[in-house]
């Protein structure tokens, strides 16, 4: 899958504009001014207005630059992100060791297509080192 770079950037700018819009919407319902000083809603409202205006201006810049940018590889980063999200989803029920081992193994063996045995050995070693650092050394109650 290959997408035009500027469409993604346009989406990024519009995402920031939408977040700004959300902040305007919610901040407008909060108290804005109390005595001489701003209240809880004032600065979020200003930030929302600023973010929307700046993000729309950035979107305008992207549009005016045209669609001449080079196409970029999307497939691999999306795969990596999918594996990351699957790992986070698995943490509560599969636990840290299994989830992190699966993350590493999937990235090495499936995404990078490295030999399965090497992938399994490196994944196990890395998971073990992380367990030792966080659970044994730092005493973190890992899931």
């Amino acid at each position: 899958m290959r997408l035009r770079a500027d469409k993604g950037e346009l989406g990024l700018a519009l995402f920031f504009a939408a977040v700004g819009g959300l902040w305007i919407f919610r901040a407008a319902r909060m108290p804005l001014w109390e005595g001489f000083a701003p209240d809880s809603g004032f600065l979020p409202l200003i930030y929302g207005l600023l973010l929307t205006a700046l993000a729309l201006a950035a979107a305008g810049q992207v549009l005016s630059a045209g669609e001449t940018g080079p196409t970029q590889e999307f497939r691999k980063p999306l795969l990596v992100l999918a594996v990351l999200i699957a790992t986070v989803s698995a943490l509560p029920f599969a636990g840290f060791i299994l989830s992190v081992f699966a993350l590493l193994f999937l990235l090495y063996a499936v995404v990078e297509r490295l030999p399965w045995l090497n992938a399994a050995l490196v994944s196990a070693a890395t998971t073990g080192v992380l367990y030792l650092i966080f659970k044994v050394w730092l005493g973190v109650p890992l899931p």
Partner: protein, 493 residues
């Protein structure tokens, strides 16, 4: 004299076994991340934040500072040996450095870069020793309006360092906006928690930093698959002729680098660019540049190292970071409960002077590491990135979870990781977002206090000379692309 005594005290602290170890570890890691593809000093510090949480702040900041200036040395190796700059500040080095490597002179190129970096780093730290306390003393008169203006300057200056001021400002405002999530410290009202109790504490600095600089950078870099042929490194010590040709470029580069580094909206990349231009201008035979002139390595390399020390001046004395990495170090100070700004030199003098002293020591360690071990570090370039990034992602998850044992933080990591990937991919500066998040509460408090002082009049920000000056600098930073265009147009007419 006061500074000398404080510096001696700093050396006493920095030379303890623990701090010396942290300094060594920091510069070594900086050197390594400077060499490795797809991970920069900002990402390395971000990944280490959870591990240093709860430790002695002085040790942690010594470690982070070491990574910061150590990476300037490491970035040179990739520029010279494979013509791929490890850091943007070593782009200019790759022009003549790589040509020297092609001609079989990679060793002298790396040698003069290490010696120049050492001289510039040491002189730059000397400049930091002399200038930063004086600047902090002058800034002690700061009140709420000046703190407000300082945050504006910090954000705009950092936005101006990136590829686009507009995109940098979007990131900065988005960071400020995220800083409003949670309980309003002034009156206890819950803001933007969207009915989720775990958002009442706000978004943690570590979570956002690891997500943007760890996950975002890793995912953006995972497409790096090519391993380039690496030139051999032999005879690192430069000849007498090399040294004669490089002496003055090193000194000029140091001066340019330090001055540019101190300016909030500039940075090491601009410093190395200017140093290269200056060397080409003053050269008897400018046609040698681009074909392996050693001055083209010595000048920019000295400049970027002096700039790294220079950038610590506004960071330590005013709390205004000059680069993405110093923005994260600033965030780390806040994480440790230390308020950055002019009071740092009086309230946390032990920490500041130990960090400054460690920079002198770190530069010596880097010189000792680089001259005999340049060939060893060069071998790191042969490690394919595909072996490196999966453990980094696993470390991101473990680090973020360990910060408050929260699975929700892991979800935030994934969400902001996607955002970081897109920002990195499209060259949107991420550091202003971090700075906005960490300085947001200070900004809001300063605004409220200022307006209470002035009975609601915004004129307080422009009628007080210091505040007005800082805001004027902020306006200069925002309009810097315009001034740059006018300057270059005037030069070409």
């Amino acid at each position: 004299m006061n500074e000398l005594n404080s510096l001696l005290g700093g050396f006493a602290a920095a030379l303890t076994f623990k701090h010396l170890g942290m300094c060594f570890l920091g510069v070594l890691m900086g050197q390594v991340v400077g060499v490795l593809p797809g991970i920069g000093p900002a990402a390395a510090i971000a990944l280490l934040l959870p591990l240093t949480f709860g430790t002695d702040p002085t040790s942690a900041i010594i470690l982070f500072a070491g990574i910061y200036y150590g990476s300037q040395y490491g970035g040179t190796l990739t520029s010279v040996l494979v013509s791929v700059p490890g850091e943007s500040s070593t782009v200019m080095t790759s022009i003549d450095g790589y040509q020297m490597a092609v001609q079989g002179r990679a060793g002298p190129a790396l040698g003069i870069a290490a010696i120049g970096s050492f001289i510039a780093g040491t002189l730059g730290t000397l400049g930091l020793t002399l200038l930063a306390p004086a600047l902090a003393r002058a800034a002690l008169a700061f009140g709420p309006p000046e703190y407000f203006a300082l945050v504006v300057l910090g954000l705009t200056a950092l936005a101006a360092v990136g590829s686009s001021v507009m995109k940098g400002l979007v990131a900065g405002v988005a960071g400020l906006l995220m800083g409003t999530i949670g309980i309003d410290p002034q009156n206890g009202i819950a803001r933007f928690d969207f009915g989720r109790p775990w958002l009442l504490d706000g978004i943690e600095f570590i979570v956002l930093t690891v997500a943007l600089f760890g996950v975002g950078e890793v995912v953006a870099s995972c497409v790096l698959a090519v391993v380039r042929p690496v030139a051999d490194v032999k005879h690192v010590l430069p000849t007498r002729a090399d040294w004669r040709a490089s002496r003055l470029p090193i000194l000029r580069g140091t001066g340019i680098g330090f001055l540019v580094g101190v300016l909030p909206a500039a940075g090491a990349t601009i410093a190395s660019f200017l140093a290269y231009i200056v060397e080409k201008k003053v050269a008897k035979d400018p046609s040698r540049f681009g074909k392996g002139a050693i001055e083209g390595v010595a000048g920019p390399e000295s400049a970027n190292n002096a700039a790294a020390a220079g950038a610590m001046v506004p960071m330590l004395s005013l709390g205004v970071p000059g680069s993405g990495t110093t923005a994260i170090i600033l965030g780390a100070l806040i994480m440790f409960g230390i308020r950055p700004g002019p009071e740092l030199f009086s309230k946390n003098a032990d920490l500041v002077w130990a960090v400054i002293a460690s920079m002198y020591i770190g530069n010596v360690i880097l010189l000792l590491l680089n001259l005999p071990l340049a060939g060893v570090f060069a071998r790191l370039l042969k490690i394919p990135y595909r072996w490196l990034y999966p453990p980094i992602l696993a470390l991101c998850i473990a680090g973020v979870y360990s910060q408050s044992n929260s699975l929700q933080d892991c979800w935030l990591l994934a969400g902001f990781g996607v955002l970081g990937w897109l920002m990195k991919r499209y060259d949107w500066s991420m550091a202003p977002m971090i700075l906005g998040l960490v300085l947001g509460p200070l900004f809001e408090t300063a605004l409220r206090q200022s307006l209470t002082l002035s009975h609601g009049s915004g004129a307080i920000f422009i009628t007080r000379p210091l505040s007005a000056t800082l805001l004027a600098f902020a306006a200069l930073a925002v309009t810097s692309p315009l001034w740059t265009r006018i300057f270059f147009r005037a030069k070409t007419v």
